[in-house]
């Protein structure tokens, strides 16, 4: 599976960055094929997981025998098993009524497999896992299927004001809060400060400004003006959302039923995507096969003025061994159409509680602990996860360890979700196919009308 599937590739890179700090913990537990096989076994069932976790970790077993409420927590494998295990252990130690065991799913880069395993377990309605983490694009699907416990009863509207508004919207389905925010990632504009300085150009706020600056900035080693991603994969939908959003348009209406993909705002946005390649020539046609990493490489090799990508690029761009542009890169919100607002595509994993859990109180207690500012701060400082609680951005400890994350506060405020519908997996397949066609053929009207017809059929069913 490619990174494009998950749209949270940041995680691998932040992990690499923070690896040195954690070396002492990881020593003696190499990540190899043996590990992966174990992951698979662990993920294949809650019972197996409990046994495996117990065998791996003696303290877990000791706790398990002391008459606490046993619950399970399933998450995609964002970082080494130990890291998550440590977080869970600190919860287990913080109180003495609940004991959590960890079920590890495949890494987020294999998001199709993570999705599949979660669906299989949730559809079984056995109550396991009690608490899980989900990609933001699955929230509506799980909620509509009745697998996610509605959480409004436990977390009131006032409490949710402490979070980024976009993410709360993303965690809500049909007016009910069915997920709790964990971390987010959003698409952003990376630009070369040295080139902009030389041109005397400001950071572009509109697409016209970006095209003009990109064209002026190209030449010599700088072969490209603006790189984005158009591989026929999930990433294309992510890019599409921010282009259309930056023109005030949308793919689906807020009701999840009205299809807006063929409206003039969307058409103009897709036309712009096409024009960057074929008319303005600031984007190479190679983007048609590029997802995150192929598009990142030319930028950090100093070949492009602008790049749209996720947070993970930052740490690579500042790493001398991988980047020729150390200290010459900054981030800004993506540009927008004149008179409209910038829109970033929202990604990230969020928490959910299994609707058939047999230990509701224990699950909620654990969820509440996971959502505390302290836990979010831990994930932010140790793993580089962008927090969803507004207050965490302002923590002095974060400024010290991850100054880049602090910069993202304003960017994250403008992030918008991908189409919210329980049929998202089908909708995105249609979008990928038709938008890719539009970008190749130039028949934007035709492709968008076809996409509209197909999506209408899917969401109506």
């Amino acid at each position: 599976m490619t990174h494009a599937d998950s749209c949270v590739p940041c995680v691998d890179y932040f992990r690499r960055k923070t690896m040195s700090k954690k070396l002492t913990h990881d020593a003696g537990k190499p990540e190899g094929t043996g590990m992966r096989r174990r992951d698979f076994i662990v993920a294949s069932g809650a019972a197996a997981a409990t046994v495996a976790a117990g065998a791996l970790n003696l303290p877990t077993r000791l706790y398990a025998q002391s008459g606490r409420t046993e619950i399970t927590f399933a998450s995609a494998r964002f970082f080494s098993t130990d890291t998550m295990q440590q977080v869970i252990e600190s919860y287990n130690k913080s109180q003495n009524s609940v004991h959590v065991s960890y079920i590890e799913l495949p890494p987020p880069s294999s998001s199709t497999e993570v999705h599949q395993q979660l669906v299989q377990q949730l559809a079984r309605k056995s109550g396991s896992p009690d608490v899980f983490t989900q990609d933001i694009i699955w929230i509506a699907e799980f909620a509509e299927a009745g697998w996610a416990l509605p959480l409004d009863h436990y977390f009131g509207a006032d409490e949710m004001k402490a979070y980024l508004p976009g993410i709360v919207q993303g965690c809500t389905w049909k007016g009910q809060l069915t997920a709790m925010p964990w971390f987010i990632d959003c698409g952003k504009l990376y630009y070369r400060t040295d080139i902009l300085e030389k041109l005397g150009a400001g950071v572009p706020e509109t697409w016209d400004q970006l095209i003009e600056t990109a064209q002026k900035g190209m030449g010599g080693d700088v072969r490209f003006g603006f790189i984005w991603q158009a591989k026929q994969a999930e990433i294309l939908t992510c890019d599409l959302v921010s282009f259309i959003g930056s023109n005030g348009g949308a793919i689906l209406g807020p009701d999840g039923k009205s299809v807006r993909i063929a409206e003039p705002e969307a058409k103009a946005a897709v036309q712009l995507m096409y024009d960057t390649i074929h008319k303005d020539k600031i984007t190479p046609s190679d983007v048609l096969t590029w997802d995150e990493e192929p598009s990142r490489r030319p930028f950090t090799a100093g070949q492009s003025v602008f790049l749209r990508n996720w947070s993970y690029v930052w740490s690579i761009a500042q790493d001398k061994t991988q980047s020729d542009v150390v200290g010459k890169v900054e981030v800004a919100p993506l540009p927008h159409f004149a008179g409209k607002q910038s829109a970033a595509c929202l990604g990230g994993y969020q928490y959910g509680v299994n609707a058939s859990t047999k230990n509701k109180d224990a699950a909620i207690d654990f969820l509440r602990w996971l959502s505390t500012p302290a836990t979010q701060l831990h994930f932010a400082t140790v793993e580089g996860f962008v927090p969803t609680r507004l207050a965490v951005f302002d923590e002095p400890e974060l400024a010290k360890t991850q100054p880049f994350i602090q910069k993202l506060k304003n960017l994250s405020l403008g992030a918008i979700p991908r189409p919210v519908t329980p049929k998202y997996p089908q909708v995105t397949l249609v979008l990928q196919s038709e938008i890719s066609r539009a970008l190749v053929s130039g028949d934007i009207e035709g492709a968008l009308n076809k996409a509209k017809t197909q999506i209408e059929k899917i969401v109506a069913a």
Binding site: Q120, Q232, P425, Q426, S436
Partner: protein, 312 residues
């Protein structure tokens, strides 16, 4: 009396297994584990797949009802499906023909005696031994539109003036994947054909040589007809395998751009495991299965005919 004697002698001459009589449970019992294994891993999934293809089973929306042939009706009018079907057939034909022809040439060369033949035979298998995902990444880099070696070489010798975007162009992408597949799987064909060539007695070529046949005549009139059954069987294996092409496409293009490299396996994977539409996805797999049966039948008829010719 004489007749009875002959009959009893005939009975004695039968091979031992023929002497088991119906009603004795042992032979049947001994077959049970094998049959059970086949039923469990082969028959059951196929039947379950067929059964699912008649339902609208969707994991996420919890629908599950019998819908008869509705999935197949939808399939017939699904332009995505036909698009993928055509690409799969194009890919299968092109890669099978190219791999068989090039494989034959390689096999003929390797059948000759020359210094270091053993080494060359071993080296030939390297592309086949490399995991396909690695091959995919490698060809992704070779044909990269900006920094690919292929573009560089073609520009250096003056065949190209600008860079060609191999995987980004809907007209070229599928053929670029065919090239990767030919590189990877030709050794397999060469190996099968080499084995076939070695079963042809040298005395036949020698006789033709004495009769004054040229080397082309020896190949065309002696070796090729004798190799034909092997050639057809090898091509059938290859065609059935090529029809299921997944990894190269999945890693290199993901089916794009504009669905130009979408093949049946990648489409089925998306429908089954991304969209979790088990009913419709099973109908797709069944359509693949049926197409494969037709391919196998087509080859089977030719192969049988060749065997009959050989028997006469």
């Amino acid at each position: 009396m004489a007749i009875a004697k002959t009959l009893s002698r005939e009975a004695d001459l039968r091979p031992p297994e023929m002497r088991f009589r119906i009603g004795r449970p042992w032979p049947a019992l001994l077959l049970v584990p094998a049959l059970a294994a086949i039923a469990a891993v082969s028959v059951y999934p196929v039947i379950l797949g067929l059964w699912l293809s008649l339902r609208d089973t969707t994991l996420a929306s919890r629908t599950d009802a019998f819908v008869g042939l509705e999935n197949y009706q939808q399939l017939c009018s699904d332009s995505q499906f036909w698009n993928a079907w055509i690409h799969t057939m194009e890919f299968t034909s092109a890669s099978t023909v190219l791999e068989t022809l090039i494989g034959l040439v390689i096999a003929l060369i390797l059948a000759q005696r020359f210094l270091g033949r053993g080494l060359v035979r071993a080296a030939m298998l390297v592309p086949w031994a490399i995991p396909t995902v690695v091959t995919s990444k490698m060809f992704g880099w070779l044909f990269d539109g900006q920094n690919g070696v292929v573009n560089y070489l073609l520009r250096s010798v003056g065949l190209l003036h600008g860079n060609v975007n191999w995987y980004g162009s809907p007209d070229l992408a599928l053929w670029t994947i065919v090239i990767a597949d030919v590189w990877k799987t030709t050794p397999f064909m060469a190996l099968l054909l080499l084995a076939g060539l070695q079963t042809i007695p040298y005395s036949l070529s020698e006789a033709a040589l004495i009769d004054g046949a040229s080397s082309w005549q020896r190949f065309w009139c002696v070796k090729l007809p004798l190799l034909a059954p092997t050639l057809l069987i090898a091509a059938m294996f290859r065609a059935l395998d090529a029809f299921r092409i997944f990894d190269l496409v999945y890693v290199i293009t993901g089916g794009g751009p504009a669905d130009s490299t979408e093949v049946l396996s990648t489409l089925t994977y998306k429908i089954l495991f991304s969209a979790l539409l088990f009913g419709y996805g099973s109908a797709l797999s069944t359509a693949m299965f049926i197409t494969e049966i037709f391919i196998a039948l087509g080859f089977g008829i030719f192969i049988l005919r060749k065997f009959k010719e050989a028997a006469q």
